[in-house]
C-alpha cells in the first residue's frame, strides 16, 4: 500500500460515530464516492492492473450492483474500500470518499476503527470466511466488542438479537454452535449478522449468494432486501445479472478493470448501450424467451490484465466494432461518455447504438 500520512486524525470522526446510523442530511449527495481508483499488483510477470481508473458514486440509501466476469476487478476494487490491500504489495491510488473522508488516507489504526463500523463486507463463501475453531456467536460478538466498550455479556445479548434478526431459529441456542453445525444458508445469515452488528453505513456484499442453492439464495436475497431499508447504502458484487436486476438501484458494469457502463438497473437491463453489456444479456438463457433460439455468445476470452489489448479492452471480442470508422477501437481507449440521459454513461466509440437494438435479443 502507499504510505500516505493521515491529514490529522481529529477531523476523521469516523470510528466515533454513535451506534445508530445517522440519517442526517437526507438526500444530500453521494454517500460513497470513488475517484480514479487504481489497484495494481506488481508480479514477476509484470504489473497487473486489476482496477484501473475506476470512478463511481453510491447515493445515500441506494444499492449499487457491480457486475463483471471473473478478473474484471470487481472484488479487488471493493476490498480496496475495506482497506484490505493494506500491508500487501498492491499499489492503491485514487480517492475513496466515504461521507467526505478519504479512506485511503486514513492511518492503519483509523482504518481499523472504520472497518466493520462504517463499512462492512459480506464474503462469498461463508465457510471459509469463518474460523472453524470458534463458535459462530464468538465471532460475531468479537466484531461488536472491537468497536464498542461493552461487557461480553452485553455483546452476547446483542449477538443473539442480531441472529434473531437475520432469521436464525432458536438464536439463544445456536449462538454457541460452530460454523460446521450451520447449513450454508444459515452461515451466510450469520455472516450478514456479523456485517451488520455495528450498523455500518455501507455494506459491501461480495457474491453473497453464489455458493448457495436457488431456494436458499431466494431466502438470502429476501433477507438482504428487508435489511436494505435499515442500513444506509450497499454495494452488491455479482456475476449474476438476475441478482442485480432484483437487488440494485444502479448498475456498474466492469470489464478488464474499468467501468464500461453505468446506469440505473432499468437502463442497463433493458437498453444496454455498450456492446459488452449487450453481449452479457444476450448470452444468458432466461425462463421466458424461445427455448429453441440459439444463444448469442461473446466470442473469445477475457483479456489478460498483464497485457491488455490496446484501445478498448473489449474490442477483440466486440461484434460491433465495424460500425466504428477507422481503427479507433483498437488504438484509442474510449472515455466514459453520456449515453442516454444524465444517469447513463458508457465507455464505447459507437456513436449510433441503434445497431445494438437491431440485433436485440427477444
Amino acid at each position: 500500500m502507499s504510505d500516505q500520512k493521515t491529514p490529522g486524525s481529529s477531523r476523521v470522526g469516523l470510528g466515533k460515530r454513535g451506534a445508530s446510523a445517522p440519517a442526517t442530511g437526507s438526500g444530500s449527495g453521494s454517500f460513497l464516492e470513488v475517484r480514479d481508483l487504481k489497484v495494481h499488483f506488481p508480479t514477476a510477470d509484470g504489473l497487473v492492473k486489476a482496477t484501473d481508473g475506476l470512478s463511481y458514486t453510491v447515493e445515500r440509501g441506494k444499492t449499487l450492483g457491480i457486475v463483471g466476469e471473473s478478473g474484471s476487478g470487481k472484488s479487488v476494487s471493493s476490498s480496496a474500500i475495506m482497506g484490505l490491500h493494506r500491508g500487501t504489495r498492491a499499489q492503491v491510488s485514487g480517492e475513496i470518499l466515504l461521507e467526505g473522508t478519504d479512506l485511503l488516507r486514513l492511518s492503519n489504526e483509523e482504518m481499523r476503527r472504520a472497518r466493520g463500523k462504517d463499512v462492512a463486507m459480506i464474503f462469498q463463501d461463508p465457510l471459509s470466511a469463518m474460523h472453524p475453531y470458534y463458535t459462530v456467536g464468538n465471532q460475531i460478538a468479537e466484531a461488536y466488542l472491537v468497536h464498542n466498550d461493552v461487557s461480553k455479556k452485553a455483546a452476547r445479548a446483542r449477538t443473539i438479537e442480531m441472529l434473531d434478526r437475520v432469521g436464525i431459529p432458536q438464536p439463544d441456542r445456536r449462538v454457541d454452535d460452530y460454523p460446521h453445525q450451520f447449513s450454508g444458508g444459515m452461515r451466510q445469515r450469520a455472516m450478514i449478522a456479523m456485517g451488520l452488528i455495528n450498523d455500518p453505513g455501507l455494506l459491501i456484499a461480495d457474491e453473497p449468494t453464489t455458493a448457495l442453492d436457488v431456494t436458499v439464495q431466494a431466502q438470502i436475497l429476501d433477507l438482504l432486501q428487508d435489511l436494505q431499508r435499515e442500513f444506509n447504502s450497499g454495494i452488491i458484487i455479482t456475476h449474476d445479472l438476475g441478482v442485480v436486476a432484483e437487488m440494485a438501484d444502479d448498475v456498474l458494469v466492469m470489464y478488464a478493470g474499468r467501468a464500461v457502463e453505468i446506469g440505473t438497473t432499468n437502463q442497463i437491463m433493458t437498453k444496454p448501450e455498450m456492446p459488452y453489456t449487450w453481449g452479457l444479456l444476450a448470452s444468458v438463457p432466461d425462463l421466458a424467451g424461445d427455448p429453441e433460439e440459439q444463444l448469442v455468445p461473446i466470442k473469445g476470452n477475457p483479456p489478460s490484465l498483464l497485457d491488455p489489448p490496446p484501445g478498448c479492452a473489449f474490442s477483440p471480442r466486440c461484434r460491433f466494432k465495424e460500425h466504428v470508422s477507422g481503427d479507433l477501437c483498437t488504438t484509442q481507449l474510449p472515455e466514459l461518455t453520456s449515453a442516454a440521459g444524465a444517469t447513463h454513461v458508457k465507455r464505447c466509440h459507437l456513436t449510433d447504438s441503434s445497431v445494438l437494438k437491431q440485433e436485440q435479443p427477444a
Binding site: 444458508g185 449474476d240 441478482v243 432484483e246 444468458v284 425462463l287 461473446i298
Partner: protein
C-alpha cells in the same frame, strides 16, 4: 416414442453406508442419495436433471456411467442392463457412455499434455494405430473450437472455457452414444457459458448424441433439454416435457424452484415478483422425512403427506408428478388427489378399499394416465 430409448433407468437406488468411528467401523445408517429413480432418455434427445445440491442428481449421473455401482435397480442401455456387469464388460461400455465433468480445473491432469489427455481413450481402447492418434486428436480439437496446434500444451495454459472444451473433446474421442454432462457450464463465466452450450448443441445435432444433462440452473436446462426431471432428496418429484415443467408445473417444489430464480426481466417491471418462499434447508438424506420428503418445507403439506408417500403418477401425455396436492400454481386442490389411487382416506389412513387404479411405475410414459380433474384413468 416409436424407437427404443437409448437409456432406461428403473427404480434406481444408491445407498452410501455411514460408518461409525472407531476400530470396528459398524454401518450406522445409510445416505439415501438416490432412492427409486426411473426415467428414459430417447435417442438423440436430452433429459435435464435439476435440483438443489444433495438431491442426488450427480450420483444418478455417476451411476449411469457406472462410476458407482448402484445398490439396486436397473440401468438399461440400449436394452441391456448394465447395473451389475463386471469390470471386464464395463470397458467396452465406456466407449458408449462418456461423461463431462463440472470443474474444468480439477478434471484434467495438470501433468499431461492436452494431446495425451484427449488421446488416452484411443490408446486405452486400442481403436486406432498409435501413429493415427495425433491426427484424430487434432481433428477433435478443431471440432471443439480449439487450435489443433495446441496439442502439446498443458491444461494450465488454457482458460476455464477452453479447458471445458478440452474435457468435451476427451468425452467425444470414442464417439459415444450417450453423454452424461454433470454441470458442464456452472464453473464458467456467463459470457463463456453460452459458447459451451452452443458447442454442445452443435455436437448433439452433428453426431446424434443423447444427453443426460445435470444442472442446477433452470434457465440453462430449459434451453438445452426438451424433457426435464426435477429431483428432491433422492427422488424425482416431477418429470415432464419442457413446456409443461416451465409453464404448468404441478409440484410445489418445481413451482418454488422456478419462482426462486432471479430474473433479468424483473428490472423492466421494477422490482421483484412474489415468490413462493421455502422455509429452511434440505433435510438430511440419512434420515429423510416420512411420507413425502418435501413436506417439511412444503407450504401446503397436510397430514396425509407425513403418512403416505405420494407415487410418481402420470397425469398427462408426458407429465408425471409425485404430490398429494398436485395442481398448477395457485390452483392446488384442497383434497388430496391421490386417495383413489392409493386406497386411503383424506388423512392418509387406509380406507379399507383396495386401490382403485394401479399406478404404472415404469420409466417411460404410458398411453393411459390419471386425469386430475375427472379422477379417472383416461387414454390418449
Amino acid at each position: 416414442m416409436s424407437e427404443r430409448p437409448i437409456l432406461e433407468v428403473e427404480d434406481l437406488k444408491m445407498y452410501f453406508p455411514v460408518k461409525s468411528t472407531g476400530v470396528i467401523r459398524r454401518t450406522v445408517g445409510h445416505v439415501q442419495a438416490v432412492d427409486g429413480v426411473s426415467f428414459q432418455v430417447e435417442k438423440g434427445q436430452a433429459l435435464g436433471l435439476v435440483g438443489e445440491s444433495g438431491c442426488g442428481k450427480s450420483t444418478t449421473g455417476r451411476l449411469v456411467t457406472r462410476l458407482n455401482k448402484p445398490t439396486s435397480g436397473a440401468i438399461r442401455f440400449e436394452g441391456d442392463d448394465i447395473s451389475d456387469i463386471s469390470p471386464r464388460k464395463l470397458k467396452p461400455l465406456r466407449r458408449e457412455i462418456q461423461m463431462i465433468f463440472q470443474d474444468p480445473y480439477t478434471s484434467l491432469n495438470p501433468r499431461h499434455t492436452v494431446g495425451s489427455i484427449i488421446g488416452a481413450p484411443l490408446a486405452i481402447h486400442d481403436v486406432v494405430p498409435k501413429n493415427k492418434i495425433l491426427p484424430r486428436v487434432q481433428e477433435l480439437l478443431e471440432i471443439v473450437g480449439l487450435n489443433p496446434e495446441h496439442y502439446n500444451r498443458y491444461p494450465n495454459e488454457f482458460s476455464g472455457g477452453q479447458r471445458q472444451r478440452i474435457g468435451i473433446a476427451r468425452s467425444l474421442t470414442l464417439q459415444p452414444k450417450l453423454l452424461v454432462a454433470d454441470e458442464p457450464v456452472s464453473a464458467l463465466d456467463v459470457s463463456i457459458q453460452a459458447q459451451v452450450i452452443n458447442l454442445l448443441q452443435q455436437l448433439q445435432r452433428e453426431f446424434d448424441i443423447s444427453f443426460l444433462f445435470i444442472a442446477h440452473d433452470l434457465a440453462v436446462v430449459r434451453h438445452f433439454c426438451p424433457e426435464v426431471a426435477v429431483m428432491y432428496l433422492g427422488k424425482i418429484v416431477e418429470i415432464a416435457d419442457r413446456d409443461t415443467i416451465y409453464g404448468h408445473a404441478h409440484h410445489p417444489y418445481t413451482q418454488a424452484l422456478l419462482s426462486a430464480v432471479p430474473d433479468v426481466k424483473q428490472a423492466e417491471v421494477g422490482g421483484r415478483r412474489e415468490r413462493i418462499r421455502l422455509q429452511g434447508d434440505v433435510p438430511s438424506p440419512i434420515n429423510p422425512p416420512s411420507g413425502c420428503r418435501f413436506r417439511t418445507r412444503c407450504p401446503m403439506a397436510q397430514e396425509i403427506c407425513a403418512r403416505v408417500e405420494p407415487p410418481l403418477m402420470q397425469i398427462g401425455p408426458r407429465h408425471k408428478v409425485a404430490c398429494h396436492f398436485a395442481g398448477e400454481l395457485g390452483q392446488s386442490p384442497t383434497r388430496p388427489v391421490t386417495t383413489s389411487v392409493l386406497g386411503v382416506d383424506d388423512q392418509g389412513s387406509p380406507a379399507g378399499t383396495s386401490p382403485a387404479t394401479p399406478v404404472p411405475t415404469g420409466p417411460g410414459y404410458d398411453q393411459q394416465w390419471f386425469d386430475l380433474s375427472s379422477q379417472q384413468v383416461i387414454s390418449a
